[in-house]
Every structure is written in structure tokens, then in C-alpha cells.
Homo-oligomer: 241 residues x 2
DNA sequence: CGATCGGATTGACGGGAATCAAAGACATCG
DNA sequence: CGATGTCTTTGATTCCCGTCAATCCGATCG
């Protein structure tokens, strides 16, 4: 399953986006230099503070964005305020719903985030001339669907302890996709409350489970943000895998 | 959000698939009569008993299928046997993962199911000649992603009672997508165990919540399968919406 | 350095769903 | 018709996680 994802990424050599003045992947990878130049005229680079909203629950979004750095959380809320984070998007993911006006989820910067945004109509016109672009959108959408379904198993069937371990594994693999070592360390990109909303738990339960992993020697935490995992296999066990 | 879905369906006039000898939508809607004829040479119609497997967790699937009638459940399983249904597909949904060998989920007939299947390579060649087809696949994938994310909210944040009510609403809206009346009745397409696996609950809890809805007069159940909902708004309340 | 404030941890307690177990409903078959 | 087997319901009990509340920790001030 992951083999495929790697293939996709390998075939996408980083392309210089004129607007962002940076090398990144995402949809731009499918464009010709000419198209990139054209797109650059309409695109803007933005830096967002943690907590900044990129798109509201029913706000029409007229732009697409490549995430250059940082983490964006996608969430849904019930009428009474209960919230569920339904997806995390990392660089170099693509943000935006092709051919849809409403998005059904709200997108918010979890960390500081840099994005490169451009209007929907420009890229939709390009899709007409360039089927490859649509193929790339389909690939990313399929990846998001896989991730959503994986997470449904976590939400529906795992215990609190397994959920928290699964979350740590998820972050570590996204931070270091190619990592083969037996240990990792990384920064948590969000608060305990956000983690709880992602896992369908309360903040307190998340905290308790982190403590349990800590006293059992599975992880170390410094400054409430930085996590060290000496033996990934042990964490993986805790995740129920 | 649903407005869009309707647009999509309205633009797809039913097309006669030569192989199935039936009118249905799904991907075939995007094909020209010539292409349909060509596809028909390679396609077969199958009838499946409840419980029959269409695709295994890691079995390579070399075919696509249009669901002509019935309900297919997509599920994931943990090593220790815990199971989660991650999606339900109704006619005229399309079954199969474009450009992916492995599917990560196993697909099983929930009810008796009729499908029209054809090899992947045939349709993938057609996609090359016909970008519209890929567009249609993207549309369906986006719909599935929306449904998956909606369900993540249900799995992560709703109580058992709300989950069961949400399930009944889901089935009723899929059985009668255009229904505007205040009452509905329909058959449950699966067992209590399956419902539990879909909701992240146990069979017993599902049963108890159904009983509660019944004694509260929100639903009636005859023969353990047929459900009558006199007032959809009351059920909707119970779902936490 | 002490004051303040938001986020995180820990504790006590209760409730809701899981678990284990038994009884009931329904279909099929001899 | 009664026997059998499967699915469903109901009951009793347990336990995990949510709730409410207090404390702690780290950052940013004056």
C-alpha cells in the first residue's frame, strides 16, 4: 500500500514554483514550465499563525493551496460543540476540493503554516488542457481516502492506549516518511486538546495515556512537545498493530 | 453538499450497459456507445450471495465492478480479529480502486448483490482516451471521502444512541435519496453484528439502542429487518443533528 | 525574582458501554 | 409438529473512559 505512495512521490521530481519561490511537490509537479509560469501570476504565498482558519465549514473556498510547511487540521463540529478532527495534512499535500464549492470541513493551521495559494478557476482551466493534473488530484484523493479509512478503524475499534500510540506513530511516519531506524524523535504538532479531538477522546485521557507510555519507558517527552521513541517496535505494539 | 451529488447524478442519464443488459449509472455513464460496446466484450455479470467476498484485504483485485443492486460492505480487521466496517456501497456505486493494486480493505456482499465486472486494464486504457472518465472517478472518490469523514465524526464523538440513529438515517437516505416525506420505511441490509462493526459498538449495545428507539416510539421494527420511521425529524434529533 | 496565565497533569468519582451469560424469536428441516 | 441452529434480545456485572476539580508546570511578563 505504501509502496504505491512512494512510487507516486518518486515520479514527482520537485518543481520550482515561481510564486512560492521554493521547490515543492503537490499538484505543481504535473505542470509544464510554461504552465507554472502562468500559474505564478495568480498565486500568492501566505504564512499563517497556529489557529488561523483556512476554510470554514460552509464558507465557499475559491482557492487551492499547496502546503509548503507545517500541519493543517481538518475538522467537523456538531451543533452542540463536540468536535472531531477528520484529517491532518502535511507538506507537500494539496489543500482544496476540486470542483466542489463547499467543503464540509473546516481547515485550520495546527502549527505555523506556509502555503502557496491560487484561484480555483485557473487550475480548473488547466485541468481541461491537461488530464495528468486531474490524475494527480485523483491520486491524492485516494490517499486521503485510505488515511480516513485507516483512522476509522482506530476511532471505532481501538482502546484509548492504542489510539494514543497510533497517533504518535502517525506523526513520526509523516515527519520521517523514509525512516528505517529503530528510534525516532519529533515534535508534536498540536495541543493535547487537538490530539483528543483527533482520537475521539478527552484531553485528560490523552494525558493519562501519554504518562503511561512514559512510565513504561516506551517514550520520553521533554517540554511537553518533543517526543523521543527509543524503540519504534514497542510503540507499534502498543498501537495494536 | 448533497446538492452537488444530485447535480452529478442528474447529468448522468442512465446508459444501457450491453454486458449487464440493464440500465445503470456508475462509470458507464461517461462512455460513448462505441466504448460501451467494446467494454461489453470483456465484462461479466455476477450474482453474489450475502457474505460472498469480492476482494480480500491484500488480494490483488484486477477487476472493477458497477453495483447493479444490493449493498457491499468494506471492512478492515485488526490482527486480533476486531473489525471495523469503513464504508457501505450501494447501487449504482462503483467498486474498485483506480490505479491501485492492493485495496487495503476487504469487500463483502452484505445483501444479495448483482455486479457488472470488467478488467482493470480495459478501463484504464479507456481512461487514457477519455479524460471525462477519470473525472467521474474523481467525483466518486470525493464522495466516498466525504462519507468517510462524516462517519469519523459519528465514530469519534457520538454516543451509542446517536450512532444507531445515525445509521438508520444513513440507510433511509440511501434507500430513498430523493425522499421529502416525513415518514419512511425500509429493510435493514445487514445483521446486528454488521451494524455494530459499522458503528464501533457491540451487537448487544446496538440491540439495546434499537429497543430504546422502539419503546420511545421513534421507530417500529417488524421481523427484525423491516423498519418504519413515522417521523424522520424525531430520528434525526436522536442522531444528534 | 515573584506574579500571572494557559496548558498539562493528576485525582476522585460516576456513568455508559463492554463483557459474560441466559433466554427468547425465527427459520429451516426432518 | 417439534427439533435444531442462528440471530437477537435481555439481564447482571465489570471496567474503561468521561466528568469535575485541584494542582502543577512552563512561558512570559513587570
Amino acid at each position: 500500500m505504501d509502496i504505491h505512495r512512494k512510487d507516486v512521490h518518486n515520479s514527482e521530481l520537485p518543481v520550482l514554483c515561481q510564486a512560492c519561490e521554493s521547490r515543492h511537490r503537490g499538484v505543481c509537479g504535473a505542470l509544464t514550465p510554461d504552465q507554472l509560469l502562468q500559474l505564478s501570476k495568480y498565486s500568492t504565498r501566505r504564512t499563517l499563525e497556529p489557529g488561523a482558519e483556512l476554510a470554514g465549514e460552509s464558507i465557499q473556498t475559491k482557492t487551492y493551496s499547496n502546503i509548503i510547511s507545517g500541519v493543517v487540521k481538518l475538522s467537523k463540529m456538531m451543533a452542540d460543540g463536540r468536535q472531531q478532527i477528520v484529517g491532518l495534512q502535511f507538506a507537500p499535500d494539496f489543500l482544496g476540493r476540486p470542483f466542489r464549492e463547499e467543503n464540509g470541513v473546516s481547515a485550520e493551521a495546527a502549527t505555523g503554516v506556509k502555503v502557496c495559494s491560487f484561484p480555483k478557476n485557473v487550475i480548473e482551466r488547466m485541468i481541461g488542457e491537461m488530464p495528468e493534473l486531474e490524475h494527480k488530484l485523483l491520486e491524492q484523493t485516494l490517499n486521503e481516502l485510505d488515511e480516513a479509512r485507516d483512522w476509522m478503524l482506530t476511532l471505532g475499534r481501538k482502546t484509548a492506549g492504542e489510539k494514543v500510540a497510533s497517533f504518535l506513530l502517525l506523526i513520526s511516519t509523516h515527519a520521517f516518511p523514509e525512516n528505517e531506524a529503530e528510534s525516532v524523535e519529533f515534535d508534536l504538532p498540536m495541543s493535547r486538546m487537538d490530539i483528543a479531538d483527533f482520537l475521539g477522546l478527552t484531553m485528560e485521557t490523552v494525558s493519562r495515556q501519554l504518562t503511561k507510555l512514559r512510565v513504561d519507558g516506551v517514550i520520553r517527552i521533554v517540554n511537553n512537545r518533543h517526543v523521543e521513541v527509543p524503540d519504534i517496535a514497542r510503540l507499534s505494539d502498543r498501537a495494536g498493530m
